[in-house]
Symmetry: C2
Subunit: 310 residues, 2 copies
Amino acid sequence: MTINNRIDELIIDYSKGSRRALSRLISIVENDSSLRPAVTEKVHPFLQGAYRIGLTGPPGGGKSTLVSVLAKLFRQAGKKVGVAAVDPTSPFTGGALLGDRVRMNAISLDPGIYIRSLATRGALGGLAAAIEDVVDLMDGFGCQVILIETVGVGQAELDIVSSADTTIVVLVPESGDSIQAMKAGMMEIGDIFVLNKSDRQGADHALLEIRSALKYRKPDIWTPPILKTAASLSEGIEDLHEVIEKHLCHLKENGLLIKRQYQRRKMKIRRIVQAKLEQDFWDEERKARLDRIAGEDIPVFSASEKLISE
Amino acid sequence: MTINNRIDELIIDYSKGSRRALSRLISIVENDSSLRPAVTEKVHPFLQGAYRIGLTGPPGGGKSTLVSVLAKLFRQAGKKVGVAAVDPTSPFTGGALLGDRVRMNAISLDPGIYIRSLATRGALGGLAAAIEDVVDLMDGFGCQVILIETVGVGQAELDIVSSADTTIVVLVPESGDSIQAMKAGMMEIGDIFVLNKSDRQGADHALLEIRSALKYRKPDIWTPPILKTAASLSEGIEDLHEVIEKHLCHLKENGLLIKRQYQRRKMKIRRIVQAKLEQDFWDEERKARLDRIAGEDIPVFSASEKLISE
């Protein structure tokens, strides 16, 4: 059986709700970027525009616990939920402590929740492209809410969550000192800020820090709320759920949900075009010329010009 | 005065050793990617092939303290030192605690050390390109050793350090649980592993974890040593300095220093070509077509094909 027939078969099972088929398809796009077009074309008709929530923040902020608690709440509201984790310190991905893993396992047994973790390295065609494919596959599978967890330190990871419909930045009292430093990154992308583990010392101080850091954002019709939670104790989670619903309403009422979907599509097309341009450019001859020219004592921009113009 | 004349003037001051000129040139390449060619072409004749050391690891591992202690040692050995920090939690970049900042200030007063921090976001043309330019500017300025600090969580950040001549991965006893998760990323790129804050509990256990994680690496003539340090107490630093010198010898003896420089040049040229291809492709007409096509209900790969072929 050719791989294309195999994909066709998997798509049929996938459309009937087979989790195994979903997992296989995700593995295919993760491991062989040449098969991405075939898979994503076939998944396209199933896309339903799932609501995407990105969660980011420094490691150790309890993002995964928040994710699992939120997943449960959305389940209770009758939604099918997808979880995509790109956090190397996440219990979904294999890090963190045993207690967390047990909690994760509890939600992973629910047939209405599909969890997938992605390695931060080695994803062919880039991390962002891989994540988009995975999330689309979950969307086409019928997940109505998709939670995307990344650790908010890397540039690629921040870009991923900030392309979600709602971006939640998760901080802890101990982040206090680094909040200043994050201003340029995480503080700009959050639609909702969560101070997790707020039963710990320093919570009030951290809250003030977040508030003052947010002053530098340019004013918008949506003012990002700051919530206190203690996810392991399930405190403040109902409030968070409510605020998320509020943000979703805000997005819908102002036509922003459609706008963000459109922006994501644009981004995806740009990325594919970029990969294709590169692939077409670097034929064997040009690769050989690059090997030569890199060894010569000329500035890199001149070298690039030569490669392109000759 | 045109900006090109301004750059020429700055290059003259820079070649005479003006730190102010160096800072200005770095700001120029950071803030306006269109001026990168002009600056890097003029800096090219000054390049001397500085020895690049990358330090990475999870936040809170004491990387910056290690960097400052190492910088001092290299100074004592008579070298001019550059430091480029891309770690949002680093005291160089503005994060971390007051004590660390005081330590940093101490080294930043030494005229033989030049420190520069870079934001992880908003760098035009990508973080990696920006860092390369900054490091090259330090190299051309006469820095013989350049220490590059990134937080080892993001993909882009790992790529940066792994392109250094010597890559040091800094872990702490508390990293123990996440070492497994890091296997695919940090454990592969390190030439030297440092268990910092090794006066803390759990050091021996963490050491075992690192050792067992390193078993999965494919064998090489260089076996990455694992060192215990306590940078704040300056313990183990002399050993680390020695091991770094040993790795440098290894690189030189096996022709790897030249090979890594060559690989970096290749990488840089590829990146410039890629940016140029994109820039040439996305003219006003194609941008308008993208705006339209992103709104249509067709799969993204088909949309990309249409854009490229039409």
